[in-house]
Symmetry: D2
Subunit: 334 residues, 4 copies
């Protein structure tokens, strides 16, 4: 469903071209300072507009509708709302019976019996990641001094990001990418032995981000080619510091105090200006389809800050569960 | 924690060298036939004994302690118990202060303050996957005619499985592998748009299996190198059948009716006969360590049936949530 | 926390004198018609203004911010927002260090370390029941033809409601009351044997309504004085119809198809114009306190529709879990 | 379902006349001492055999099958198993088509389509409370110095317990009772403002105990007859101590540090030796029914320790959530 977390619990809602998107954040400790300006940096990193991203520009103005009083969290649920303003629904109406390849048009239609809001991806839209980033801003404050950092490793199979984007724009096609996320200053002993291993919960959250199709921790898929004596990380200090970090900071599902390292694969945006073939579900005839509208050449460019938010949200929940964070930051001075 | 699922809910318990391992399965529909012999085939696939697997042999006798009456499930929780018989704890006691590289020894000690059962990996042991496979046997019956199939693609970087095992045994080292799982006859519209995407829930469950360090769906990491027009799967029939299956059967987190395809990376077993370096946590001195005991050269050989169980459990839960399965198979004839 | 339900899942947020109160409703089937006018009747029943209720009047205008498209639910989360307009915070600021007897002032201050929004009860305010009633309006549509009906049995120990209110207003004191809720056309076999008995889940939800201090099902506390042969309800039809209904429609935690009947005790409003004694937490001195502001003489008058909403929400979740309702009402005609 | 709790999470299983009953306890802190003898006192209080209770005697021998090592909890799930030995199923088989009034026979049959284990109440049996009491024993250790105490206030409407039992035995009928539970040394600020109020969670758990039909906190139903100035508890110390305790230790759903007080109504045992009327569901004919077998005249006599267990389990979960208890009692001395 649309709720995630045990103690730090978030509930997401909204549609790309409906009234709004937003998020309710429950279980946040009281006494965390939160101002509108706190969102600015991460929202700006997620924003479109650079080459390779959609020209649709939303104002992305967060409205804090509950749970904050005198610029501090109160311990009650925090609702952050984003009203949609820049919507051009006309672009999408013709796609109703003709599902776009690679999109959720067909599956949404099957799941919701034709009642889904089909405009701009509706509830499946990448616009909902704005709400996730908002929750991430708060999570990052909670987990401090733990730090989360997401970067692009490559796009379209190339480490020269700019050249790859230029080529794709020229070819009027979209491309994917690989993002790495590192979490540092991690407390030892987060996570649970079996179903709530750190890998389990991080991957659960990360795969909720649209377009992600793979995740690996530490050496990941490469570890399948290694021997045990190569892969094992020798412990070289009593605090658990290891010589290498093939495990990505996690043993037996539990953090070992080293950096958590994971990489995710972002598929190419399904929307491409190239002509594609799909079926008209009403007539049963094959159909050539050219998507106009506004879309990203390489959505991966905008994903690092979203992955960071996902990771910070998971860490906040683990740290609250493990009592590494107090539910109240400190009693309010009178 | 040690509980997973929304409607088909499992709770796992036990230790490698304690009294038992086992599982409670709640939310199973009434009227599913279940006999002891049903477990035989999958248990045999998970069993050790072949070249490349540990010589420790457990009888793996399932005791159905509740929830089954006259060889049918009753709708009440089913508890399946495995008493441990073949344990040699002496092998492990010296490892208490000297954590083995790559194992959960260090993290378990930090998490549980020295109270953990350290014998043979304790609650972190791969032996708990026996309980998971037991739940998988039941899940496979529930989801029928949906079928789940796990196979080894490669071990130690090689598709010639036998040769790679021979080489590793000779080198007294352990090796990893890659496993592919395919789920066929999948109903359309399973999964949820955001946090409970099919990828999210499958990966959550799969990463609870010890030694798994990566997962990818459809084209997975390769999709990062593709263009949108290459990656998009053209829809070629009104039931959603696609020409290609780069999406691995999932769009927008929802099943599209095509085969679900995912691959997982299994790291090499941490136990290897090779000498390794670690720290004596008591004295703070570096220590050379040679692990004797009994262990697997290539644990990946035993993992396919465990991944199948994981996948079947997730499918059972999704199908019950989506009302694709009745809570009662059919009223009992009088 | 502030989330309730397994499939029909609600998340509540907001404060009495903050920006807004509202609710996110997840798991609602697609294809339920929902218009602003649908809320009118239940909101009006909850509204204050009659004798015995507070003169504070809010406009109670629901804004549907997501999950509804062309006046039908889409299957995505529905967010209903109420902006606060008629707030007079000045009334409350002096109470910060001097907790009102019977209120959550002291406990909130302890729980949230002084960061809570103390204006008008903040997140603990009865104003949040407006959001619950909104979810109830939707739940009632989902469970149709099941019907929920709440009525006042007595206030201040008297069945003559009007006289009791007049007396209390005259005495400038507040009074409590007893409310009965009946659920009819209930499907057989809702609920679960142990922890999720129908009584368990209904009482869980009902005790979230402020001021409720007791609940009983069927004969309830009176059953403790009965013999088994008096209390047992003889079954007189193959559909489970019973001669009497001492069990209140529930056996072994499961609905038996008869009317569900329960009663709740509503304590007198803690705010009363009478002078009370409390402690100044800062100075440690006892203090005489007279609460001015606007408040209800008998909050119980406004509770029946809130109890109905609570019951309807629980029934919707049970019916969805038991597959008595389809997740899609019916495929949309094209 | 059969799982309860957020951090201290229990999963119950078993049937009255099947192989076993038992419980899995997850989320228990490591380092709590646990021996077989710890269960003795509470098991003895729950045991039948006194006048007014069933002559069926089970050995009630707890087998700790996981999660305990060297007589201390390890942090892994603890499974406690009770094998059934003294079962006489023959007593019950004739009742299959003829549901006993007041029992779960009819509802279980409807819910599970005839597949339920109908022997002795099966999964609905009061025997499962043995597993709950086992979890309570552990919970009481965790919450120490918080203390939980359950006592019988009256049976059959009379405070003279012995006389009421004698009369009921003579009349060959069963009677109910009222039980009070007091929780002392309660930390301030447990519980959550809305859906997880202390009353909500306690009542949820308590209504899972068979035969309970009502619960009230503090003045409970009597509070409906009081005025606000009578009911409000004046705060008379800076730690929140109140002059009276009409609120039962809870304001706004949160503990205020005073004793938590609640009472529950236990209905008369449905099994009575008196002849009753029910329907033969197969033939549709009314049927006179006399229940032989072994049963309790007044099950309420055995319920206080079960209510204590329920309350202790809830307190353990709240205290772990609120970080009033460490997840590790103290690091193990080496």
């Amino acid at each position: 469903m649309n709720t995630f977390g045990k103690i730090f619990k978030i509930s997401i809602f909204g549609e790309s071209h409906g009234e709004s998107v937003g998020i309710v954040i429950d279980g946040c400790p009281a006494g965390i300072s939160l101002k509108h300006s706190d969102f600015k940096e991460d929202f700006s990193r997620r924003k479109s507009g650079a080459k390779g991203t959609t020209p649709r520009r939303e104002a992305d103005v967060p409205q804090i509708m509950s749970g904050v009083f005198k610029e501090c969290t109160t311990g009650a649920p925090i609702m952050v709302l984003f009203e949609n303003t820049n919507t051009r629904s006309g672009d999408y109406t013709i796609l109703k019976d003709i599902p776009r390849p690679g999109h959720a048009d067909f599956t949404a239609n099957q799941k919701f019996g034709g009642y889904q809001d089909f405009r701009g991806g509706g509830h499946f839209s990448g616009r909902l990641t704005l709400a996730l980033v908002a929750a991430g801003v708060l999570a990052k404050k909670i987990i401090d001094p733990v730090r989360v950092s997401g970067t692009i490793l490559e796009v379209g199979g190339s480490k020269d990001i700019k050249a790859a984007i230029d080529r794709a724009v020229e070819q009027q096609d979209s491309i994917g990418g690989i993002i790495e996320c590192r979490i540092s200053e991690v407390p030892v002993a987060l996570g649970e032995p079996f179903f709530d291993s750190v890998e389990s919960v991080l991957s659960h959250m990360v795969f909720s981000i649209p377009a992600i199709k793979g995740i690996e921790f530490g050496s990941g898929f490469q570890s399948a080619n290694m021997t045990g004596s190569q892969h094992n990380d020798n412990i070289v200090a009593v605090d658990g510091t290891t010589e290498t970090n093939h495990a990505g900071g996690i043993n037996g599902g539990i953090t070992n105090g080293n950096e958590i390292v994971f990489r995710v694969a972002v598929k190419p945006t399904s929307s491409t200006s190239r002509t594609q073939r799909t079926m008209n579900l009403k007539s049963g005839e094959m159909k050539e389809l050219t998507i106009e509208g506004r879309h990203d050449t390489c959505i991966a460019l905008r994903v690092p800050v979203v992955v960071e938010a996902a990771a910070a949200i998971v860490m906040a929940d683990f740290m609250l569960q493990s009592q590494q964070i107090n539910r109240i930051s400190e009693p309010k001075p009178q």
